[in-house]
């Protein structure tokens, strides 16, 4: 089974290739069906292959496919261990549901087939990423998901904003990739190979703490790019220009978690570099808070979720940075479900509202879209952390471990808790403005419940969001996930939930916090009237103005980095290059001609001048010879 694990990648890849050539000729649901079934089959295959791990008898295996860049130790080799297995299951599982959903969502799009080509291609790329057995192949997947992300964000390329958002996503990701690349350079320089087996097995025998810190910080930069963390988070909100299933699959459930996965995968290095680990945790915590605060005042139904995703990814960073790898992966896993659910739900809403995305112009959809509303409510409770839904377990585990670590991490725990409060506020606001209260629709909008092909995945995801938290609870089962993942983190000293009563107290505190936030937001927006959207508008004063405009980060980047960069480039091109460098070249050429021109007047045409020059030559030559002869 494991020997042929490449089939999991090959299935969606084959789907992508097939659909690339024939997708446009097939009638409508067919491309979607093909794409969904390739990834669905992949899920089933992965599930079977994981069976040994479930049973606790499996061992990590590597599968050598073929030599790729052998001199770097970067070959087409796959690693099948619990960590990659759970990632594969998440990607294929959630992916399959989102594929299914897209069959309905993309209905009627002119490039229906192409959309599934890209979606399948994304799935294949993401699977390469998670199944890679060396940093080279990891980087391949890393970049290919970036490519798919680019293609899917700017899927509606005729919208300039979509095209620009796609480019922004790719370029910002590339900034992180440069860091990643530098990290890889360091790894190769130290270990002479990129294979996990060599690098991650007791790295301390090869490298110092300093080097480990350098390597990991560079990797963190890459991870921050992909997982939209400070300072490279700002591409993700714009990425919402893509079709909603894309936002759900790539920009919530899977691709953006690649950074978390990478940190977890390289845990051995982070273990050596406590500074980097703390940096990851700190970045995560601050990003969580920062993004949550922005989400408070967003009006776009998907942008709220985008910032929410950034915020939740921050939690995952906090987790892996704290050393709570299982908790991080756990949150990644649950988040994939409830965030995909929320996105797909908002897609359902957008679909219903005829493309409207402004939550200020929604409201009252509860009755019209009961299924959507119900599933959204599940997602809402999951994300704000109400037990026993999934989000509570995973988030709380992270917070509890951070608290337990003490010191600086206690401070991060405080931030995490504040973020939880804000999460409750903005998600409740989101729910309220979308589904509850009075309808504030614009004229001509006739919402309706979405077709079954869309609501079925919603229900499936809702089930997951509600129940999957139990996978890693202390009761009624043993912490199954931790047990499951153990082989992947065998050599790693992991942080654990503090023992005794502390976890219970902490859980109570966070439940109370969430409830308080939800209650506050509910009260605040209860008064929001039909057609009066004033209360839901971001207030244009003081700090809210900053928050409402996402702290003007895009403007700051535009004016402080992009614009000066363009100016420098323009100066280089049109002054330095064409005037100074090429100018010198032309000056040399022109100079030679000019000297020729200057010399011409010497040739006066007067015979006597010619004789004089000749005579001067004679004298010069005589001087040379006579001085040599005498001397």
């Amino acid at each position: 089974m494991v020997d042929y694990i490449w089939i999991v990648i090959a299935l969606p890849l084959a789907g992508a290739v097939f659909l690339h050539f024939f997708g446009s000729r097939l009638r409508e649901p067919l491309p979607g069906v093909i794409a969904t079934s390739t990834i669905g089959l992949g899920f089933i295959y992965a599930l079977i292959a994981t069976a040994d791990f479930f049973a606790g008898t499996g061992e990590a295996e590597t599968v050598h496919l073929f030599d790729w860049i052998a001199p770097l130790g970067a070959n087409a080799e796959l690693l099948w261990d619990p960590l990659s297995a759970i990632m594969t299951l998440t990607v294929t599982g959630v992916g399959a549901l989102i594929h299914l959903y897209s069959i309905g969502y993309m209905h009627g799009d002119a490039r229906y087939g192409r959309f599934f080509t890209y979606l399948n291609f994304f799935a294949a790329s993401m699977l390469i990423l998670v199944l890679a057995d060396n940093f080279g192949l990891l980087f391949v997947g890393w970049e290919l998901v970036g490519l798919s992300s680019y293609l899917l964000i700017s899927f509606w390329f005729h919208k300039p904003s979509a095209a620009a958002a796609g480019k922004k996503a790719f370029v910002v990701n590339r900034i992180g990739d440069v860091g990643f690349l530098i990290g890889l350079m360091l790894i190769l320089a130290e270990f002479s190979t990129l294979t996990y087996g060599t690098v991650l097995e007791e790295p301390a025998r090869v490298i110092t703490t300093g080097m480990a810190t350098a390597i990991t910080l560079m990797l963190v930069l890459g991870a921050a790019g992909k997982s939209a963390q400070i300072p490279l988070y700002f591409w993700l909100p714009d990425a919402m220009e893509g079709p909603t299933p894309v936002s759900a699959l790539i920009h919530a459930a899977t691709m953006v978690t690649a950074g978390v996965y990478m940190v977890a995968r390289t845990a051995a290095l982070f273990e050596l570099a406590s500074f980097s680990a703390a940096a990851v945790a700190t970045i995560g915590a601050f990003t969580a808070l920062f993004a949550a605060s922005i989400a408070l005042k967003q009006r776009d139904i998907k942008r709220v979720l985008a910032y929410s995703t950034i915020s939740q990814l921050g939690y995952m960073f906090l987790a892996v940075g704290t050393g709570a790898y299982v908790a991080g992966i756990f949150h990644l896993f649950t988040h994939a479900f409830f965030k995909a659910l929320l996105f797909l739900g908002s897609g359902s809403v957008i679909h219903a509202m005829g493309g409207e995305q402004d939550i200020a112009k929604m409201g009252g959809l509860r009755k019209i879209m009961p299924v959507t509303h119900f599933t959204m409510a599940v997602g809402w409770l999951a994300i704000i952390g109400i037990p026993p839904l999934a989000g509570f377990w995973s988030k709380d585990e992270i917070l509890a471990i951070a608290f337990g670590e003490g010191g600086w991490f206690t401070f991060l725990w405080v931030i995490g808790l504040i973020t939880a409060l804000l999460t409750a506020v903005y998600m409740t606001r989101w729910m309220y403005l979308t589904f509850w209260g009075e309808a504030r629709w614009e004229d001509g909008v006739h919402p309706h419940e979405s077709p079954a092909v869309m609501t079925a995945p919603l229900l499936a995801l809702a089930v997951g969001s509600a129940g999957l938290g139990l996978l890693n609870t202390p009761w009624p089962f043993k912490p199954a996930l931790e047990h499951f993942l153990e082989p992947s983190f065998e050599a790693i000293k992991m942080a654990h939930i503090p023992s005794g009563s502390t976890p219970w107290i902490l859980a109570a505190v966070s439940i109370l916090t969430a409830a308080a936030g939800a209650w506050f937001a509910y009260r605040k927006y209860q008064g929001a009237d039909a057609f009066d959207i004033a209360p839901v508008m971001p207030r244009r004063t003081g700090v809210w103005r900053w928050v409402g405009n996402a702290y003007y980060v895009d403007d700051i980047i535009g004016n402080l980095i992009v614009l000066p960069g363009k100016l420098v480039a323009a100066w280089t091109a049109f002054v330095l290059d064409s005037e100074i460098i090429d100018g010198s070249v032309r000056a040399v050429g022109g100079g030679v001609r000019r000297i020729g021109g200057w010399l011409r007047p010497i040739q006066t045409g007067f015979t006597r001048n010619y004789a004089a020059v000749t005579f001067a030559g004679v004298v010069g030559l005589l001087l040379w010879f006579v001085t040599r002869g005498v001397g």
Binding site: R600, P601, T604, G605, F606, T607, R608, A611, A612, F615
Partner: protein, 101 residues
């Protein structure tokens, strides 16, 4: 004071330089040509002096060849000058500067 070969050589050199100076300073083509003749004769003087000094007849014989050549040059030179200055009032070479640059 005895007139040694050195004096003849010096005189030859002086005459040669005078001829060359004439070439550089005079603008009449005929005079310039006469300057060249002077240079050739300066060389002749040198030849004779050296031939005499080293006791070699060749130096003296050379003079005859040079004189013949000079005569041939005169013939051709005058013909060219006549061709050139036939339609001109002056024989100044400075008027001939059409080709330059």
């Amino acid at each position: 004071m005895e007139v040694t070969a050195g004096w003849y050589l010096a005189l030859g050199a002086l005459l040669f330089v005078i001829g060359a100076s004439g070439m550089l300073l005079r603008r009449n083509a005929l005079v310039m040509f006469m300057s060249i003749e002077l240079m050739l004769n300066a060389v002749n003087l040198t030849f004779v002096a050296i031939g005499r000094h080293v006791g070699d007849l060749n130096g003296q014989v050379a003079v005859f060849f040079v004189m013949v050549v000079a005569a041939a040059e005169v013939v051709v030179g005058l013909a060219i000058m006549i061709a050139v200055f036939r339609r001109r009032a002056s024989a100044s070479v400075d008027d001939l500067a059409m080709l330059k640059g």
